[in-house]
């Protein structure tokens, strides 16, 4: 795996990747192993996740969703790495609380997603016991017990250890934000994973804010990825707004992890929304910052790339958007009409049989 780093400025999607200097389209900007059907599939999932995310925020304002953390702006990182994990076929995921798009794209139906956000019995993660999309979605190889940041890191390392003991080759992808990179357990997890050369990919979705605290107040280094050197494994900074870059980096990281041990991938993303529906980022983000970030909206740029490559037509793009909106509408109705957990289950599953 090359020890190169891509910084966000040079890896701008669309313009750089899809055309030569003279304006002629390159043969294919996409890495080997990805078919155009994969790209359309992931674009469709991306649009669906965004559609749900936007609706969930609106439903919060209507008093129908108590709390939500949006993944808008993080989707390319989440779906690019998920695509790599799916292509590999033997990965297990420990996401964190901002991974709405990842969890939806991993296989939830829109209705299941909405039931989770409304705290309904049909929530596949915890049946309405936890914050939305928190708990476990084992059919899609996902565990996220809590939103205590970095708690999932040591657990993911233990999961990888367990897989190794069971004679399996599973690679574990664990996600966290720049905020969690300050936790002591982040250090402990990386240190142990490195000692035992465990197949763990630490994916830091760096949006440069821990709620309101900017990166400059969290660390003096410019890149979280540089910390990997202290543990003796490679670290890379990737343009997290570019789905294909995140896919490629994760695919390489999976190969490295399986054969040589942990990798730290720092995916530079932007948070388009406030920390949660309970936060107002106008109190701490400079005016115009979010608007500028939205110019690199992965939904727009990925769509534009597929359009310029002739993989999608505008008509098809419009159709995907319309179908996503329809699915979101239907899911909202289904979830609103579905039952909350019955009071009688309050005492269930405190202990395992």
């Amino acid at each position: 795996m090359p020890r190169k780093r891509t910084n966000s400025a040079q890896a701008n999607v669309g313009s750089v990747r899809t055309a030569r200097a003279n304006g002629a389209p390159v043969k294919s900007p996409f890495p080997k192993g990805l078919k155009s059907t994969d790209l359309v599939d992931y674009y469709t999932r991306l649009v669906q996740a965004r559609s749900l995310d936007e609706r969930i925020w609106a439903l919060n304002r209507q008093g129908k969703v108590p709390i939500a953390a949006s993944s808008q702006g993080h989707e390319a990182a989440e779906l690019g790495s998920l695509l790599a994990a799916e292509k590999d076929g033997d990965c297990f995921l420990f996401p964190y609380y901002r991974d709405l798009a990842l969890k939806v794209a991993a296989g939830l139906t829109p209705a299941q997603t909405m039931m989770s956000f409304m705290g309904k019995a049909g929530d596949p993660y915890s049946s309405g016991r936890q914050f939305p999309l928190q708990g476990a979605d084992l059919p899609h190889n996902i565990i996220q017990i809590s939103n205590v940041v970095a708690a999932g890191l040591t657990q993911s390392v233990g999961y990888a250890l367990g897989c190794r003991m069971a004679g399996e080759n599973t690679v574990v992808l664990v996600y966290f934000g720049d905020g969690a990179s300050s936790q002591g357990e982040t250090h402990e997890a990386m240190n142990f994973a490195s000692i035992h050369k465990l197949p763990v990919i630490f994916i830091c979705e760096n949006n440069r804010y821990a709620i309101s605290t900017p990166q400059s107040s969290q660390m003096v280094v410019e890149e979280v990825a540089s910390r990997a050197a202290g543990y003796g494994f490679p670290g890379f900074t990737v343009d997290g707004m570019d789905l294909i870059s995140c896919y490629e980096a994760t695919r390489e990281a999976i190969t490295h992890a399986r054969n040589q041990g942990p990798v730290l991938l720092e995916m530079m993303v932007d948070r388009f929304m406030s920390h949660t529906t309970d936060d107002d980022d106008r109190r701490y983000r400079p005016e115009g910052e979010v608007e500028r970030a939205r110019e690199r909206d992965p939904v727009v740029t990925f769509g534009r790339t597929l359009l310029s490559q002739g993989i999608l037509t505008q008509k098809k793009i419009d159709q995907i958007a319309a179908e996503a909106l329809k699915a979101t509408d239907e899911a909202t109705d289904i979830a609103e009409a579905s039952n909350p957990p019955d009071e009688s289950v309050l005492h269930d599953s405190v202990y395992s049989p």
């Binding site: 915890s126 936890q130 708990g135 017990i145 040591t154 233990g158 357990e185 000692i195 395992s352």
Partner: protein
Amino acid sequence: MAVKSVIEAVREAITEEMTRDSKVFVMGEDVGVRGGVFLATQGLSEEFGNERIIDAPLAEASIMGIALGAAFRGMRPIPEVQFSDFVWPSVNQLIGEAARTCYGTNGAVQVPMVIRMPYGGGIRGGLFHSQNVETHFFHTPGLKVVAPSTPYDAKGLLKSAIRDNNPVVFLEHKKTYRLVRGEVPEGEYTLPIGKADVKRAGSNVTVVSYGLTLHYCLEAAEELAGEGIDVEVVDLRTLTPLDTETVLESVKKTGKLAVVHEDNITGGVGAEIAALAADQAFEYLDGPVVRICGPDVPTMPFAQTLEDAYMPTADKIAAGLRNLAAY
């Protein structure tokens, strides 16, 4: 039957379970070649290899978190907290995460994990090698808490704990490790978690305890027998789930209840048992519920005089029971 120490019983239980089930493994500080600071895992590294007896970095949060993650995958980890005093850096993983995993996943994810902790004082351990930590775990739904007092109980309960599909905090009183010896049968046996044991039958006063102070209660009972006071000694063995049936049965028989533990008196196990008696055996009580427990100071101090002043001893227990019997 062979007579063994508590530490030998613990080692036997781990060895037998690791032999029986390849998913069982130990992780902790100095558990490998060193065999643990109390030698609970002596020889196991040679027998099972360093992939199943894992020397961890000195970082308790990761010991707990990594064990927990391995349990998610279906392994049956036994993380060792070298001294219970060192559990605090890992408490988020234990109370915050492990205890809530089953509930928080609506039963989808199990945590078959045994957290072994040498605990308690009377060994000149001072504030950071003597702590009684049980109340914090006793208060936490989702955890089971076991605190045996004898080699026989320790072995049978540890084997059950390892086979349990829940996080079990297994408290080994470090002063009992070599001091307390008892008969341990050869071969396979387990004891049920959640079942107290009447260690001495009596008719005048019930005293409930666990761990080291259980032995002090037995000494006190012996002394009082000479005075014509017949004391029933109930060993809880398991704090969670609490065997309320055995406690209530004894209280209803004797009408008088004392609870003894080394842990701080306020908000402790004794307070819960007093509440249990007040709630469910009120009409049977012939006297106040007495607690003979550690005082509300942070932990027993290092100086011998202060440690002695802290500890519930057989004499202090005998005095308390004598008063209660006379009530």
